[in-house]
């Protein structure tokens, strides 16, 4: 099922205080930006966490500190830095990304990467040395040992990805700065997400709309947290 179809099916709303297609387009943009950002972030973070978990190198503790600091990095500052990067005078100015979903993806990527890397790293380093040794003793190559470790850490890695998604979709500061909270003249979201829409509607006194959007956002976050809790428990066994 496509993201658009998911977004269409989410709000079963009647007599809404806003135009048709407004909420679904906002949900779509929110999900699209967060899913793409978190996918890219995962593809980047897991190899980094594996490399750090399997090797010792000078400055490893420093890199860990940078990642941990990144977890608490203020999102508005990230938004500001991405804005400078994609603005006309910035290094990516020629790509004309300012106030686009792509710019929002970049800022969410920056925000989601530290938690995904840090939690994955904790999960990978938490795998017992005995398990690594056993894989080697049974004839495994280095790659086999790495695969065993990923498999043992699968619940932790899953939690990391979903935690990154939770941070991305709940974020308001940076997407407001780099996305601009824009809709088309028909009121369809271009770069407006659930969080930025809530902020705007509340500021304009449209509390009913803000509450509905808030409920949708909370529902999405609850579902994601439910999945995190679920995979944190014992996962399915495979033979």
């Amino acid at each position: 099922m496509s993201l658009e179809a998911v977004a269409q099916s989410l709000p079963a709303l009647v007599d809404l205080p806003f135009r048709e297609g407004y909420v679904t387009s906002i949900i779509y943009v929110s999900l699209y930006v967060s899913v793409v950002a978190v996918t890219l972030s995962t593809l980047f973070s897991i190899p980094v966490a594996l490399a750090m978990g399997f090797t010792d190198f000078p400055g490893k503790q420093f890199v860990k500190s940078v990642i941990n600091t990144g977890m608490g990095f203020p999102s508005v500052v990230v938004g500001l830095l991405v804005l400078f990067t994609v603005s006309n005078q910035g290094p990516l100015g020629e790509l004309e990304l300012i106030f686009t979903r792509e710019a929002m993806i970049i800022s969410q990527f920056v925000l989601a990467t530290p938690p995904i890397t840090a939690i994955s790293l904790a999960a990978i380093t938490g795998v017992s040395d005995n398990v690594r040794e056993a894989a080697r003793a049974l004839g495994g190559t280095r790659l086999d040992v790495a695969l065993v470790v990923i498999k043992e850490a699968r619940y932790g890695i899953g939690t990391a990805v979903l935690a990154g998604f939770g941070r991305a979709i709940s974020e308001v500061g940076s997407v407001l700065i780099v996305g601009g909270n824009i809709t088309s003249s028909q009121g369809i979201s271009k770069t407006r997400t659930l969080t930025t829409a809530i902020q705007l509607e509340a500021r304009q006194g449209q509390y009913e709309t803000a509450m509905i959007l808030g409920a949708v956002l909370v529902a999405i976050v609850l579902v994601v947290n439910g999945i995190v809790v679920r995979i944190g428990d014992t996962g399915p066994m495979d033979r």
Binding site: E133, A135, L138, G139, G140, D238
Partner: protein
């Protein structure tokens, strides 16, 4: 034959194994006895080609293990199994654990095919897995989670896991130290069965009675190396080394 010649090893500046020479043939059980902390585990890890000793040579069927390329060494290492003192089962079913050694010996295409079959819910079964589990009396646990096993069962699965790919040599590090008499008896029976199949087994143990029960030859590892190695009866009845005699009789306490 695995042969260690004048092997010495140390962790940092602390010597652990000094000047040890030892050989193990297929189809025999060699017991390594000695008090805790004298380097039994290190000796086993050297025999399993896990650890490169600081000095001395390690040969497997005449091949100097640490002089060959890594790929060749992997092939040599795959002829040796090792069971650790602490349970090290993977978080998967018993079957998945026991077949691991067989799977890593497959090519990537076959492994991918197996994986796809597994995802599709059609799991192949390995005769060697059933046979190895049968040997340790756990054939009925094949689809059970490894996490749900008792300590004794987990150790027996570890043993089956090392046997399934039919190694030529098997290193067992205190395999029964935390087990009850029933599980100990089952492991000891499995060791005898492995020997009967032509596998050379080395068992490091602090339990002298166990060594006396199961080993064809016994080596005594004391603080400064292997003081004596010989037929089990000779070591226990008529040791030539004075420290060995004191250790066997309980006069030499560490």
């Amino acid at each position: 034959m695995i042969r260690l010649s004048k092997v010495t090893h140390a962790y940092g500046d602390v010597p652990v194994i000094e000047d040890v020479s030892l050989s193990v043939d297929p189809g025999e059980v060699v017991g390594i006895i000695g008090p805790s902390g004298v380097g039994k585990t290190t000796l086993l890890r050297i025999l399993a080609l896990f650890v490169r000793p600081r000095d001395g040579t390690v040969e497997l069927d005449g091949e100097s293990v640490w002089s060959v390329e890594e790929g060749e060494r992997l092939a040599l290492r795959r002829r040796i199994g090792m069971v650790f003192q602490e349970s090290s089962l993977f978080d998967a079913t018993v079957a998945r654990n026991v077949e691991y050694g067989l799977r890593v010996r497959q090519g990537w295409t076959d492994r991918l095919r197996e994986q796809l079959r597994s995802i599709a819910g059609r799991n192949g079964s390995w005769d060697a897995v059933d046979e190895a589990l049968d040997l340790v009396g756990l054939e009925d646990k094949v689809d059970q989670s490894a996490r749900s096993l008792s300590g004794g069962e987990a150790q027996r699965v570890s043993f089956a896991r090392a046997l399934a790919y039919e190694p030529t040599y098997l290193m067992l590090d205190e395999p029964t130290s935390d087990l009850d008499p029933r599980n100990t008896g089952l492991i000891e029976e499995a060791i005898q069965e492995a020997r009967d199949r032509g596998i050379g087994v080395v068992v490091a143990t602090h339990d002298m009675h166990q060594a006396e029960r199961i080993a064809d030859r016994v080596g005594v590892l004391l603080g400064d190396g292997l003081t004596e190695i010989g037929p089990t009866e000779t070591i226990f009845e008529n040791p030539t080394d004075e420290r060995t005699r004191k250790f066997i009789s309980g006069e030499l306490v560490y």
